[in-house]
């Protein structure tokens, strides 16, 4: 379609400078992180600092009859107690796309754990005790918990008087957004199918469970504004939502990124940001808020749980004829990112396969369950779990090898998506499956490797010593997935980079300043590499991220290396032009090559493409500094048609395949994942070590939701039953297998350096691969994830 704008994909500079792209340079923040000096948002401290605490609703859906804060206010050490009535302006709601989330509950609470009041005190325990003294009287309302209760004729509306831009096209006000995709004629194509399989799948609610709890420090400024030190995924998005509630212009809300202890989508929405600022402005003192783990489970959105209904058909020869599917995502009480998740789930619902005739529908519900929004994989994860189960079923029905059946139907460059969008860069789906299958299998009965005595640590049940190998069966499963990269559906998805070059201590130094949230992914490492490659310097300083520079967009959707990396590259190119200009002005008369040759910046020098040195950068920049701040955008996308789902909606696609090997204690229903091999196309690995780290990390989050991770919401009360790491389990190092990774680098000509966003794809295929392996071991159908022991033993 359109040509890439701004930055050409080829490497415009030789990568002759040490520490440039393609090398596994080490993290610039590594030393601080291993010495304990790295300042996370929860580590902030300020003279006269107060502690903030949030009081949350104890019920899921209720009218608030009264709130009495007098006892809390009377407690010594308490400086402020605020409720809805104390909000300073007319703007009392916020939200990523739809501003439906109250800063503090007003008249009604819509989910368990909704913020009702906030307290500031001189000790966190005082703040907690004060919050506990606030008396809230609720009159409970019926709860909406699933599709049936949400769309029943007499259903209570979770949000009355909706006026958002989706209300016009949804079939019911308890549906946030609906996206159908119709292409070809699925009903007619079904007539050509020799085999049809149907399935109904359930995906449990997963939590991001980043380790660094929501936290931050708000410091009142002398000009009446506030400075917020915060862990987030997108500073400018926070700013846009915070400032109006405080009644401040954006320039008076200064934001600096603090150390972020992981994110995975859970910091895309606001948590304690506005609350800390409100308390700081009210008391005139710095206020710090740090959630504990219990509160963290209530303080951010989760991955949408889903019900997925699929029908797949194929000819006798094994060619897919059609897919019909319906995906029902539970968005919980507030919209958060639900509309975009619906767009992803529907447009990626059939996976990386060629199917011309499809009939797809995805919806997100409003319910009284916990709000759900962004999490790594964003709508594509739930779909992948279901369509990969379907592909196995269909292969079995056909009597075909499961991998070969996938390869036979695998998309490739040029395939048309259900949305009508052609896949216009490499899509090595069959090759990834081939690679992952070709990896050597782990030896059988590894628990006996060390001697006759079984090493229980290598067996299902582990240190609980539940088996010495009896009843243990091995299974193998495969899966492959497709994820979009970047913000889709016409979103203006740009980033900004400010790059400066100057001489410091006799050496040329580049400084890169962006608002990109480094959440652990290694963006700061890559920015320095890009600057070295483009500017030929070794010394690169990464300026702390803040709102003193333009927006970098979100650290999500696998987009930051692509988009902010692209912005850094683009700004470096503009700086380079200026530096060359400066060189020509200063030294142009000394050598004709200044005017005639292609010039490069390499190893601290300006050289011709033939390698002749024209000048030292230090001499060219002597007494000068060159600085550029510029925005950069990837090629534009467009919205999906609301009726047909057609449209050039996505920027780029990303593919990964997994092979899982599991061992199952069939008597106790315990699963041990022995190995999770992954093959992924990354376009170009800017930092191979970080790339592998992303793939392994994503893989294990997929493993988690396959066998253990699920927020349990009581179906009667809509209350969260397990908000702790005691009851919500994430994989430990004992639950985690070896993860061999095969990295393929097929350039996408539309992207900077040909790179592909990589962070999410491995989270997709990991879960269905593990499920397939467990099915392979047990012969059970297993239509839900996570799988618990009782699903395997039938007890």
């Amino acid at each position: 379609m359109s040509t890439p704008n701004g930055t050409p994909t080829k490497i415009t500079q030789g990568s002759q400078t040490k520490g440039g792209i393609g090398e596994s340079t080490l993290r610039p923040d590594g030393t601080l992180k291993v010495t304990g000096e790295f300042a996370y948002s929860s580590d902030m401290w300020h003279e006269d600092m107060l502690w903030g605490q949030i009081l949350r609703s104890t019920v899921a859906h209720a009218e608030i009859v009264s709130i009495d804060t007098s006892e809390a206010l009377a407690l010594p050490g308490v400086y402020a107690v605020m409720t809805y009535d104390d909000l300073p302006t007319e703007v009392k709601h916020y939200g990523l796309e739809i501003q439906d989330t109250p800063v503090l509950a007003h008249g009604k609470v819509r989910h368990h754990g909704e913020p009702v009041a906030i307290v500031a005190a001189d000790h966190p325990e005082t703040a907690r005790r004060a919050a506990a003294k606030i008396k809230v009287e609720y009159r409970e309302l019926p709860v909406i918990t699933d599709e049936a209760s949400a769309t029943a004729p007499d259903a209570v509306l979770v949000h009355e008087n909706r006026d958002d831009h989706h209300i016009g096209h949804v079939p019911h006000p308890n549906i946030v957004h609906r996206q159908p995709i119709v292409r070809g004629d699925a009903r007619q194509a079904a007539g050509r199918a020799d085999f049809v399989v149907k399935g109904e799948y359930t995906f449990g609610m997963q939590d991001q469970a980043f380790l660094g709890p929501e936290s931050g420090l708000a410091v009142p400024d002398e000009d009446g504004g506030v400075h917020l030190y915060i862990a987030t995924q997108w500073l400018h998005s926070d700013l846009r939502q915070i400032a109006p509630v405080l009644g401040l212009p954006e320039r008076k809300v200064r934001m600096t990124l603090s150390g972020v202890g992981g994110a995975f989508g859970g910091r895309e929405d606001l948590s304690m940001q506005i609350h800390a600022c409100l308390l700081a402005l009210r008391t005139g003192q710095p206020v710090k808020i740090v959630y504990n783990r219990f509160e963290s489970f209530f303080g951010h959105v989760h991955r949408h749980p889903a019900k997925l209904y699929y029908e797949h058909g194929a000819t006798r020869e094994g060619k897919l004829t059609h897919v019909k599917c319906r995906i029902v995502l539970d968005g919980g009480a507030y919209a958060s990112a639900s509309p975009a998740v619906v767009g992803n789930a529907s447009s990626l619902s059939i996976g990386p396969y060629v199917v011309d005739d499809v009939d797809i529908e995805a919806i997100a519900l409003y319910t009284n369950n916990p709000p759900c929004g962004a999490m790594r994989g964003f709508g594509a994860v739930q779909a992948c779990f279901a369509y990969e189960a379907q592909m196995d079923k269909l292969a079995d029905a056909l009597g075909m090898d499961r991998v070969e059946f996938r390869q036979l139907n695998a998309m490739e460059q040029g395939t048309i998506m259900p949305t009508g969008q052609p896949v216009d860069s490499p899509a090595p789906v069959a090759e990834l499956l081939r690679r992952v299958k070709a990896m050597p299998l782990p030896p059988e009965q590894q628990w006996l490797a060390a001697g006759e005595e079984a090493d229980v640590r290598q067996l299902p049940g582990g240190l609980s010593n539940t088996t010495h190998g009896e009843g243990v069966v091995r299974g193998i499963g495969y899966a492959v997935g497709i994820k979009n990269v970047g913000f889709s559906e016409g979103f203006d998805d740009y980033s900004t980079a400010r790059v400066r070059m100057e001489v410091v201590g006799g050496e040329p130094v580049a400084t890169v300043h962006t608002a990109m949230a480094e959440v652990g992914q290694g963006g700061v490492t890559v920015h320095a590499q890009i600057a070295r490659t483009e500017l030929g310097v070794t010394q690169v300083t990464i300026h702390p991220a803040d709102t003193q520079v333009g927006s970098a967009g979100s650290t999500s959707a696998s987009r930051q290396t692509y988009v902010t990396g692209g912005a850094v590259k683009n700004s470096c190119e503009l700086v380079r032009e200026k530096v060359l200009e400066l060189g020509r002005r200063k030294f142009g008369s000394y050598h004709p090559a200044w005017a005639t040759a292609e010039l490069l910046l390499e190893g601290g020098k300006i050289v011709t493409d033939g390698g002749e040195v024209l000048a030292d950068l230090a001499d060219v920049l002597e007494g000068e500094s060159v600085e550029v701040e510029a925005e950069w955008r990837h090629r534009p996308t467009e919205a999906f048609d609301l009726r047909t789902g057609q449209g050039f909606g996505h920027v780029q696609y990303s593919f990964a395949a997994h092979r899982a090997v599991v061992e199952v204690d069939t008597e106790l229903g315990l699963v041990k994942v022995i190995e999770l091999a992954c093959a992924q196309d990354v376009g170009k690995a800017l930092n191979p070590l970080s790339v592998i780290g992303q793939i392994q990390g994503g893989t294990v989050q997929g493993l988690g939701v396959a066998v253990m991770e699920e927020i349990i919401v009581d179906p009667v009360t809509a209350k969260v039953r397990n908000p702790s790491f005691t009851d919500y389990l994430i994989p430990t190092i004992l639950d985690t297998p070896t993860i061999p990774v095969d990295v393929l680098e097929l350039a996408d000509d539309h992207a900077p350096y040909g790179l592909r966003g990589i962070g999410e794809a491995p989270t997709l295929s990991s879960t269905p691969a593990v499920l397939a392996a467990i099915r392979n071991a047990t012969g059970l159908e297993l239509n839900r994830t996570p799988v618990r022991p009782e699903h395997l033993t039938g007890t």
Partner: protein, 189 residues
């Protein structure tokens, strides 16, 4: 109440400590040592792991008063602790020995001037640090394991670190880092 104990080789005194305050809280909020982390505050994640008289513990579960008169080593003191250990006996550190050393400061902006313990260097080199929130606790736990068991098998490493959650890395690079530190330690002997 007042609590006196030794942190990273230096005597420390914390005043006005509440009954319910944990060792973790006192370290982070009263002594200016926020290196130990607070990912769960309920003994489930290991991010707060410190050594109490040499033994790794979750400092969020230790009441501050229980540390009275005892020796605490946190991630901030790990490098000096390891250095001291390598000068002395190869197996463990006696209380007496531990009392003779003290952590030195360095530039908190850049980390410059810090000498790293072998396990810290290995975490950086192996790519075992992403967000880094799990790192301090893992380092303390891994360092202690290598002190006890300089030649660990993979299963030993997994067992020793099974109380330390990491959400970013998938643990593979953490395994690499510990193997690397063990190998380097072996070469050095």
């Amino acid at each position: 109440m007042r609590v006196n104990f030794t942190v990273n080789g230096r005597p420390q005194e914390a005043d006005d400590v509440w009954e319910g305050e944990s060792l973790l809280y006192v370290l982070r909020e009263r002594l200016g040592l926020p290196g130990s982390k607070n990912a769960c505050e309920q003994g489930e994640c290991g991010s707060c792991t410190v050594r109490l008289d040499g033994v790794p513990v979750c400092s969020c579960l230790v009441a501050a008063g229980q540390a009275e008169g005892r020796e605490v080593v946190t991630v901030e003191g790990l490098a000096d602790y390891a250095k001291h250990r390598s000068c002395g006996s190869s197996r463990g550190t006696s209380l007496q020995e531990a009392q003779d050393w003290a952590a030195k400061g360095h530039d908190s902006q850049t980390g410059e001037g810090s000498e790293l313990a072998p396990i810290q260097q290995a975490f950086i080199d192996a790519g075992a640090v992403q967000c880094g929130f799990c790192t301090p606790g893992l380092l303390v736990a891994a360092d202690e394991m290598l002190e006890r068991n300089p030649n660990p098998s993979d299963a030993d490493i997994r067992e020793a670190l099974s109380g330390n959650l990491c959400r970013c890395t998938g643990y593979e690079k953490i395994m690499d880092a510990v193997r690397l530190a063990a190998a380097r330690q072996g070469e050095a002997v």
